[in-house]
Symmetry: C2
Subunit: 217 residues, 2 copies
Amino acid sequence: MNPNIYPPAMRQLINELSKLPSIGEKSAIRLAYHLITGDTSRAFSLAQAITQASDRTEFCKVCFALTENEICDICSDANRNDGIICVVEKPADIFALERSGGFRGKYHVLHGLWSPLRGVKPEDLKLEQLFERIQALSKSKTEYNGLQELIIATSTTVEGDATALFIANKAKQQFQIRVSRIAQGLPQGGELEYADELTISHAIEGRRIVDDHHKVI
Amino acid sequence: MNPNIYPPAMRQLINELSKLPSIGEKSAIRLAYHLITGDTSRAFSLAQAITQASDRTEFCKVCFALTENEICDICSDANRNDGIICVVEKPADIFALERSGGFRGKYHVLHGLWSPLRGVKPEDLKLEQLFERIQALSKSKTEYNGLQELIIATSTTVEGDATALFIANKAKQQFQIRVSRIAQGLPQGGELEYADELTISHAIEGRRIVDDHHKVI
């Protein structure tokens, strides 16, 4: 491409947009063109939204999720169970779990997964903070009798599994608490015929009894 | 989606990003997450690039392409042929033509196509300005003897064809100049087997003689 065909500020914008994930050069050009020829006030709104979101959003001091306050809304929600902590890799995972609406405990964000191949060590994750949290909860008997369960909801990848095992071992040794891992199996709507071998073997391993009322227990 | 799971400024950013073309809610969330958790200076660079590009870029007073000056680089380029004007629908079309490198004349951007269905009338396009330009060029005999040719490079759609015909009729009546339309046919790498009927019939209509040296003339 001859970059001189675009005016300088447009070239700069295309360059910045191309750095975004899953935005290639063609998409960047289309977006830049849209922003420049469209309503100026809308371009300004977007620029302002980027600045403000980047400026105001920080990590929660307790769970390291995204928040605009010292402590995030979930951590400071008295209606949520303090006794269950769900460990995730990144803030986006909390949003995914919250969308499902199936969890009413608290979270802890690791900000990464243990990956020797990529040079990520356990010390690089928010693990020390997790164990300090567990320690504090084990001492102070809250409404829910300290920590009841640690749910590890890292991805079902090699790194996710390794991180889960690392946390589970350490947590069980130090605190004698219950540690669980989210279930692996067929996704909703998944067809056995097209599922990979590992998913099927996990689905069979993790099978659950169906009771007389045809309910899975 | 429960929008309350995102901090307010992030929610606002997701909302603004979703307004961009071909960015759905999921992409907007992923981009917002990337901008917030990534390097703050990069988010600021993007915001600044949007503001500046939107601020500084205007339409060229002559051809209505995008520029940061009164007159765009192409219009003020003395090495380009003033005697050939290529008429396009939108500034992005100029970028596409310039990338191909096959044209060394000047441009004129209509900023739309005649479309009775969408309520776009010929008066809504930069047509009056085009005819004024042709008039001026016809009077002042430049290096290239005024206007030699008007190439209409609108899309090969119903609207594009209607607009081309409208311009061609008016230009030929008023100025007795040569008016051409870009060729329609099989695209590079196109297979006859999979081409639609209209493309094939245009390709046959527009066939060109191959000379003794096997060159298309």
